[in-house]
Amino acid sequence: MTLKKIFRRIWAIVGAVTVRAKILGIVLGFIILLGVGVTLEARYALTATMTAQLEEQSISVSRDLAARATDPILLNNLLGLHDLLDETLANNPNVRYAFIVDPQGQVIAQTFEGGFPLDLLTLNSAASTEHHHTALIQTDEGLVWDTAVPILDGKIGAARIGLADDSMRAALSTLTTQLLLTILLVSATGILVAIFLTWILTRPILELVNATKSVAKGDFTPRVPRWADDEIGDLAEAFNAMTEGLARTDELRHEREVLRRQLLEKVITTQEDERRRIARELHDSTSQSLTSLIVGLRMMETNCVQCASPTKATDLRQVASRTLDEVRDLSMRLRPRVLDDLGLAAALERLVSEWQSRNKIPVDVVIQLSERLPGEVETALYRIAQETLTNIARHAKAKSASILIEKHGDTVRAIVEDDGVGFDANMNQGERHLGLLGMRERAELLNGTLTVESDPAHGTSIFIEIPLGSV
């Protein structure tokens, strides 16, 4: 559990760094691990060898000293003994001290000047039967190999030599420095190699990332080159295949969209044409017939004295008259003639005035158009305004509304606002959603846009922009 935790923690750090840092880390880690291992091993081997050498040297020097000290000791030649010790010290740089003790352990001659470290006397000695006796002594100047050799089987004393490990420590530190320098050099090379390696590894990945971003923006043209015949090369190939597939799908989707638009346009055009035909039919023949019927009934009303009940005719005329109004209203709603004959401004003013009288909500209409707009645009804007007003009447509980239409360069802009309760503009279902969708489709068929802004405090605003140039 804790191991898992530690691993996760390490991964949180290691995983967060860049690939370059990871590769650098691996390369440097291995170099340093190897370097430290080699250094330790070399130090160990060198220490072992030099320790043996020092010990051997300590023995040979003290044996030599013991042999040469025999006569001076026997002849009580203290000066000669002193010279011998000095000579031993001068000829063997590793020798830290040398001294001769008599069988009672008294120092006869020594190389320390101005005194003697008395503790040294008892730390090592050689029995008369021993060839030599070596002991390792810790001193304030480092380790010392102290060898005692009996002189003349210990009858006249013993020679003692102390060999310092200075040379060993110097050799060790030289070796360590050299190895560390090598590690440093190899590390520097390792860093360069790692950077080069990273460049080779990450370059195709970065290209893939850039290409992916392009694809995300809808540009399917970028293809990534296959740098190497490895996993990343396979990825690049797969990516290219995917991009091609996406491009084909997108093309297909685009074709379908065009087809759908054409179909929709056709539906809408057909619908408008049909409405126009029915409206004209209603206006021209049905209304005429109803008018004739009313005229006939009025005549019947006044001329028919013997009729049982003239009121009956009056009733019928009134029914016919109401029907005529309804037919006219229906015709107007289906397709106001004024839209075709007088244009958008007149049609809208008429629509608004009727809507106002029906809903008792004041509507401010501003239409700034110097000339008539193309028929499709007029129809679209009229239908959008019509739908919006219907929505306001049904849902908004508004106190006032406004319609602004103006031409701005090559675009016509329309804003329909109310101060009602507003609604969630992001809803994607229900009757109202369908209505909005229809309005948007109409605007988009003409390459325009429709935006809805709505919030409870400020009511609803619908912005429509339709370019005129492309129509």
Partner: protein, 306 residues
């Protein structure tokens, strides 16, 4: 992370210091103190001087059993004193710095006549209390007498040695030359065994040595007979005696004399006597050395001085 680095440091330090030998102790080499003055011996040691007839090391080896015997018999420690030259030993005897000494014949005469060195006993070897000076040359040498060694390298032993210096100088003088002109070069070996070695190895073309030492050396190393030969033997001289200092107390002198004279009758003393090549110790009179006195008198003092 910290734990790992700690472990690394631990491994590093433990590997670099590998004392195969155990450290026996700690010493501050710069904490120098005056050496204590040697404590006195429990008993005052008897100081025995042995003149450098043979090399210092050879002296220790051959005199050890003898000194041990004395130590046991006298029940007091013995201190062996050696010096390079006979004169140094004589100085010690003169000033009472040694109690008993084995000296060379000429050294005795010089000591007796100048400060009263006293005879204690004399060793007897092969039933005699005399010895000779032997003129030796390498075995393959053509030389038949001292005359043939003219212009050669000659090894003297000690400057005042009778057998090693005085007698060969006398021989050269008999031929009518001062020694410094007769030989191409002379060397001093300070002991007789070294002089034999010098001739055996060809370093010297001739040397005069103590017959006692020569016989003793030949007995120890028979191969020497193939390397050196004796071409002349001197007349008999009084044997190198055992002497005491004028400062040696009479009781000590008497005790030592009795002990030495009794040694031949003591079975436990056999090794002690054999190792120094002595049959027994006997009393000797100073007059035995008169012939030597005559010889030394012939040699001018300048020739004897080293």
């Amino acid at each position: 992370m910290k734990k790992i680095s700690l472990l690394l440091i631990l491994v590093l330090t433990s590997c670099s210091a590998i004392p195969q030998t155990e450290i026996v102790g700690k010493v501050d080499l710069n904490n120098l103190q005056p050496l204590p003055t040697p404590e006195g011996y429990d008993a005052v040691p008897l100081r025995v001087a042995v003149a450098a007839v043979i090399s210092p090391k050879g002296t220790v080896e051959s005199y050890s059993p003898f000194l041990s015997y004395l130590e046991k018999k006298l029940n007091r420690p013995i201190k062996l004193v050696q010096r390079r030259t006979y004169l140094e030993i004589n100085d010690l005897i003169e000033h009472g710095e040694v109690d008993i000494a084995f000296v060379c014949t000429s050294a005795y005469i010089q000591g007796h006549d100048s400060f009263g060195m006293e005879l204690l006993v004399a060793p007897q070897v092969d039933g005699k209390t005399t010895y000779n000076s032997l003129l030796i040359v390498p075995a393959d040498s053509q030389a038949k007498s001292m005359k043939d060694l003219r212009g050669k390298v000659f090894a003297f032993t000690d400057p005042i040695s009778l057998s090693g210096r005085v007698y060969p100088t006398y021989l050269v003088q008999q031929l009518g030359f001062p020694p410094e002109e007769f030989f191409a070069r002379t060397i001093f070996t300070y002991s007789h065994d070294e002089a034999i070695r010098a001739v055996a190895s060809g370093v010297a073309d001739g040397a005069a040595v103590d017959s006692l030492v020569y016989d003793y050396a030949l007995a120890r190393d028979p191969s020497l007979a193939e390397k050196v030969k004796v071409i002349q033997r001197s007349p008999d001289f009084g044997i190198p005696p055992v002497v005491v200092s004028p400062f040696t107390r009479p009781q000590v002198k008497a005790e030592l004399q009795a002990l030495l004279l009794e040694m031949a009758n003591d079975p436990t003393a056999r090794d002690a006597l054999t190792s120094i090549g002595v049959e027994r110790f006997v009393l000797i009179d100073d007059s035995v050395y008169d012939s030597v006195r005559a010889l030394v008198g012939v040699i001018p003092t300048s020739a004897v001085q080293p």
